[in-house]
């Protein structure tokens, strides 16, 4: 106890050392060399203390190392999303795990949002931003419906999403999106985005924490030969709908093995001419 109490009474020197480091002492020794004494005080640590009191902030700026912000407005809730476009269908899938750091927040959170009749978006990243983005797009879609008397097509929604993301170019939505649906002719289409709205129409894509594991596998299975090779092949896969769904299930099962942020349950949404169909599959819970 006595030792504890002793340690609480830091001497002036220790206090300055702890707060400002060695810099004030070097400054003081310089003053001493130049034979400048502060306020007629004998103890040099006290002289420093007075100096700091008098000079305050400027001294701090000279002597203190620059401190970085220790609060971030973003957090990564993890998870992976995948979308595959077919000739007359589109498969969008995402896991349902929501995590923060090394902890799981919930095992049952949907990352998939229906934006329009034939247009579904899956997003991983910071789910608060994702939610805000989804609400924003839903409101814009309502306005579109009032003005045009019809639902937005998938390519139109793709452009809207890109513009919405770029609008916040200097405080982005931390949201990695994949948009899937049927275009005006009924063919499947997938659009993939980065956080600030750069997008591209592709045949398949994955985003999120598991995308580094998933994307190479999809490339292996689905990548069409180079468009330079004739006859030109379509970006959409020739696979049947059931085969594409199986592929997605395989891909997530593999990703759950090695990515800690992917797992729990898989939510698969299939859009085709008949409408939107949803199914679930269990994944590893560890």
């Amino acid at each position: 106890m006595e030792q504890q109490i002793k340690s609480q009474n830091r001497s002036c020197t220790e206090a300055i050392l702890a707060r400002y480091g060695k810099a004030p002492f070097f400054f003081f020794f310089l003053l001493r060399k130049l034979k400048i004494q502060i306020c007629g005080i004998k103890s040099f640590a006290s002289q420093i203390a007075v100096l700091i009191f008098l000079l305050g902030r400027p001294l701090v700026l000279i002597t203190m190392p620059k401190q970085q912000a220790n609060w971030s407005p973003y957090d990564n809730n993890g998870g992976s999303c995948v979308a595959i476009a077919g000739a007359d269908y589109c498969v969008i899938a995402a896991d349902t795990r929501m995590s923060t750091g090394y902890n799981i927040l919930t095992r049952d959170y949907s990352k998939i949002c229906k934006l329009a009749n034939k247009c579904v978006m899956a997003s991983s990243g910071f789910q608060a931003d994702v939610k805000a983005l989804q609400k924003h797009l839903a409101a814009r879609h309502l306005i579109y419906q009032h003005q045009h008397n019809k639902q937005m097509s998938c390519p139109a929604m793709a452009q809207l999403l890109s513009n919405t993301l770029y609008y916040k170019r200097f405080f982005p939505y931390y949201s990695f999106n994949v948009l899937g649906g049927l275009d005006n002719e009924g063919k499947g289409c997938v659009f993939t985005y980065d956080a600030v709205g750069s997008y591209e129409k592709v045949g398949y894509s994955s985003q999120g924490s598991g995308s580094t594991l998933i994307m190479p596998f999809l490339d292996n299975q689905l990548k069409s030969p180079s468009p330079l090779l004739l006859p030109v092949q379509d970006a959409v896969t020739p696979l049947a709908e059931a085969e594409a769904v199986d592929l997605v299930k395989t891909v997530f099962a593999s990703a759950s093995e090695r990515d800690i942020y992917t797992g729990d349950k898989l939510e698969i949404v299939v859009i085709n001419a008949d409408g939107i169909n949803r199914e679930y599959m269990d994944l590893r819970k560890d």
């Binding site: 609400k135 924003h136 409101a139 309502l142 306005i143 009032h146």
Partner: protein, 279 residues
């Protein structure tokens, strides 16, 4: 009907304490083609007569969907009505965005009324020349409101606005006590019948009227022409069946209806002493 000295400005009172510009705006509502609304406990039906400028043009849109649970029928300056329904749509979207629940109809109507009131108290503005029948469904049930250009609003069981609306109002006054427990289909039939009253002789076709319904489990939507024509056909058939026997009665009935309508108009004009806004 012209009160000259005090009617130049919307911000000038008359010695009798009336704002003539606002009353003139309400006259503009009476010039528009008819719109009617009626409600039961669970449904609200809006109907309007389609008026086209000429045979070559299409008719003006008078019923607007504001949200899944709210719709509006207008009479008067259609352009003003279009602008106000855009405002209403925005309010619904914003409320939904913030509170993730539908905007209660009563709130929307008050916001609309406040917006209309502003125009009656600024010298650089003019009142909106459109009357709105706002039909909506919220937690407290089905509602039908009428918004005046004056900034007043009233809740109604059934109401009709626009030209020749008195005939429809008479019909609705006779029948309104039954509306609370009416079924949805009966309500729609009553709406079409009320519209027929305003037509006063013209044949009732689905191209001449627009009907919209909102109710429990039924988002606001405008009925398509085919459905409306079917409903019209069902009571044309019923009318034909009673036709021969009732024709002399129907003829005298129409005459008395017209007389009543004329009497009501005259009654309205002699009531000039009572300012319409005092209702």
């Amino acid at each position: 009907m012209f009160r000259n000295q005090y009617d130049t400005d919307v911000t000038t009172w008359s010695p009798a304490g009336r704002l003539f510009q606002v009353e003139y705006a309400m006259e503009a509502v009476k010039q528009g083609s008819a719109a009617i609304g009626l409600r039961s406990k669970t449904h609200v039906v809006l109907g309007c007569v389609n008026k086209a400028n000429s045979e070559l043009s299409s008719h003006q849109k008078k019923i607007f969907k504001v949200d899944d649970h709210i719709g509006v029928a207008i009479a008067g300056l259609t352009a003003d009505g279009r602008v106000l329904s855009r405002y209403m749509r925005n309010e619904c979207i914003n409320y939904n965005f913030t509170y993730e629940s539908p905007l209660p109809v009563g709130r929307l109507v008050v916001q609309l009324a406040d917006k209309a009131q502003v125009c009656t108290q600024r010298s650089w503005k003019r009142p909106y020349g459109v009357g709105l029948l706002v039909a909506g469904l919220d937690e407290s049930g089905a509602h039908l409101y009428y918004n005046c250009p004056s900034g007043n609003y009233f809740e109604y069981q059934a109401f009709a606005i626009g030209s020749r609306s008195q005939a429809a109002k008479t019909y609705l006054e006779r029948r309104f006590e039954n509306f609370t427990d009416s079924s949805r289909d009966d309500l729609v039939k009553d709406a079409i019948t009320a519209i027929r009253e305003t037509l006063q002789g013209e044949t009732l076709k689905s191209s001449i009227c627009t009907i919209a319904v909102v109710g429990v489990g039924e988002p606001f939507h405008i009925l398509d022409q085919g459905t409306v024509q079917q409903i019209i056909d069902t009571f044309e058939i019923a009318a034909e069946q009673e036709g021969p026997a009732a024709e002399p009665d129907a003829a005298t009935g129409q005459d008395t209806a017209v007389e009543q309508g004329a009497a009501a108009d005259q009654g309205g004009s002699t009531d000039e002493g009572v300012a319409p806004m005092d209702i």
